[in-house]
């Protein structure tokens, strides 16, 4: 009998599964995974990958085996503070995850092992860097066999990156619909003609799509075991250079230069910074969600307190810039992610349980909602009650900025729409939020009519 608390996303691999017990995450290894796991541990590959921070480290838990006889071993991997999905990543986050996958495959081949999966969902971000979390996807390589994960690599990584780079960065959202990677025939039809001039895309996307179409459902006789080691390395090299050559410049959206065009005086901005510092110093959160975090300016203030901070924004340019800075500065506890708060990531996959919705991955200890409420209430017609309800589900403590209608940024929102927002006033905002939160502190930002509110969620029975 499998242990209680088995993760709903962990059912495909006969070699093992993930389960949670007393809040701790474990991976059970079954008999089909036994040989490969032992090879991973004895070949030196595990040490090599862990010391290079390419694979999540784990410890073996001997006591579980006696309780669960169907398991050969139970391991406890280091837990990822926040699970994110490829459709929430920026271009460089997906590209780094792709290159990590290829680097692991190259190193594995040197130990006569291979990755049997190249799923982007097997990569997570830990301490600012991508890392492989699926220990059991490393198996003994069979001499002469092609790379079984080739199709998956192309659909999960190369194809979406090509679309983002050569067509439109927003096409990463196709990964939200196609959770086993974007079908290559679709990618081939969406990519511009010039993509065929690149050998790697011609081979691994366009011809690949054609080959899939040609042989779909057709009974064919194929030679087995005819791919030499050199050819396997050649394939990885070709995929790697094709992946590296794809570029995307993060410029040109309305939010990218937000901080060059704001209503804050230097004093107002300093007061806002201080308010965030005071808030995290008082609340001492372990986890912070910065909703509408732009490039992460205030997320970084929260991160400086040692909290694990997720900086969410709807703008791919902001997320890309935020991540490039995380990478350049080797920031350990900040993860920028692409989220549209008016339509956050849904639960997806088999039984709607393989991939979690945004709110299922919470709540956070603290939420920052700075210069956000007017976009929700006026830009998206979200009633204040609903906004307060959302924030109450997202976190326990809240630092929220109220921006009145008299503010030029709000006026700008109202230029092209009828003002049907009579209830969007400071008094009404306070009244509505008081139903769910205790207002702990108010800070007026000098030189503007904006106010920051520090709040604590009320425990409402039922």
């Amino acid at each position: 009998m499998p242990p209680e608390g088995r993760l709903p996303s962990s059912f495909r691999d006969p070699a093992g599964y993930m389960f949670r017990r007393d809040g701790v995450l474990y991976r059970g290894i079954r008999d089909p995974g036994r040989f490969h796991y032992d090879r991973l541990m004895s070949s030196g590959l595990y040490e090599e990958l862990v010391s290079a921070r390419l694979l999540v480290p784990h410890e073996e838990i001997p006591s579980f085996r006696e309780v669960h006889e169907d398991l050969y071993k139970v391991i406890r991997p280091e837990e990822i503070p926040f699970v994110s999905y490829p459709y929430e990543w920026s271009f460089s986050q997906l590209q780094d995850a792709a290159l990590l996958t290829l680097e692991i495959e190259k190193r594995a081949l040197r130990h006569d092992m291979t990755l049997v999966d190249a799923s982007a969902f097997n990569v997570q971000f830990l301490r600012g860097r991508p890392i492989l979390i699926d220990t059991l996807s490393l198996r003994q390589a069979v001499e002469g066999e092609p790379w079984t994960a080739y199709r998956q690599y192309c659909q999960h990584f190369l194809a979406p990156l090509a679309l983002m780079s050569l067509r439109d960065v927003r096409l990463s959202q196709l990964l939200r619909v196609h959770i086993d990677g974007i079908p290559l025939d679709l990618v081939s039809s969406l990519l511009p003609l010039r993509s065929r001039r690149r050998a790697s895309l011609l081979l691994h996307v366009h011809l690949h799509a054609r080959s899939q179409k040609r042989f779909a459902g057709r009974e064919v006789r194929v030679a087995r075991g005819k791919v030499s080691r050199q050819a396997r390395l050649g394939l990885i090299d070709s995929l790697e250079s094709g992946t590296r050559k794809l570029r995307w410049r993060a410029t040109g959206t309305e939010w990218a230069d937000y901080y060059d065009d704001t209503n804050y005086t230097p004093e107002g901005l300093a007061a806002k910074r201080r308010a965030v510092e005071d808030f995290v110093a008082r609340v001492r959160p372990r986890t912070v969600w910065d909703l509408g975090g732009n490039i992460g300016t205030f997320s970084r203030i929260a991160a400086a307190s040692g909290a694990q901070v997720i900086s969410f924004d709807v703008d791919p340019v902001c997320i890309e810039r935020g991540y490039l800075r995380v990478r350049a500065e080797k920031e350990q506890n900040l993860l920028p992610l692409l989220i549209d708060l008016t339509n956050p990531s849904p639960a997806a996959g088999w039984e709607n349980a393989e991939r979690l919705s945004l709110l299922e991955r919470g709540p956070a200890d603290a939420v920052l909602a700075l210069a956000l409420i007017h976009h929700l209430a006026i830009g998206n017609n979200v009633p204040l009650e609903k906004a307060a309800g959302f924030f109450a589900r997202a976190g326990r403590s809240l630092l929220i900025e109220f921006i009145p209608k008299s503010d030029s940024q709000v006026k700008r929102l109202l230029v092209t729409r009828e003002d049907i927002f009579e209830r969007y006033t400071r008094e009404e905002f306070e009244r509505v939020f008081r139903q769910r939160f205790e207002i702990v502190r108010r800070v007026s930002l000098a030189g503007s009519e904006r106010t920051l509110y520090a709040m604590e969620r009320k425990d409402i029975p039922g």
């Binding site: 092609p146 011609l202 080959s211 394939l235």
Partner: protein
């Protein structure tokens, strides 16, 4: 520009044709059959390209090392 898709079709035909001709053992059907066949078909090409790349890198490294040594006054300089 207009010739590109045509060239692509010819290349696809050649590569996939080679793959089918190479087939002889147990066949099977699954959604990844086309990926499997393509990989076998291009294995030779990418393997050769990789070998040439490695060889070229070694030559380049040799010349870089030689010129660097000469710049420093050569290995015999004292």
């Amino acid at each position: 520009m207009i010739r590109k898709p045509h060239q692509c079709r010819i290349a696809a035909g050649l590569i996939l044709g080679c793959a089918v001709l190479a087939g002889q053992a147990a066949g099977y059907i699954d959604p990844g059959t086309g990926s499997y066949i393509l990989q076998i078909a291009i294995a030779f090409l990418v393997g050769i390209a990789f070998s040439v790349k490695i060889f070229w890198k070694k030559i380049a490294a040799f010349f870089r090392k030689t010129f660097a040594a000469n710049k420093d006054g050569g290995p015999d300089a004292s």
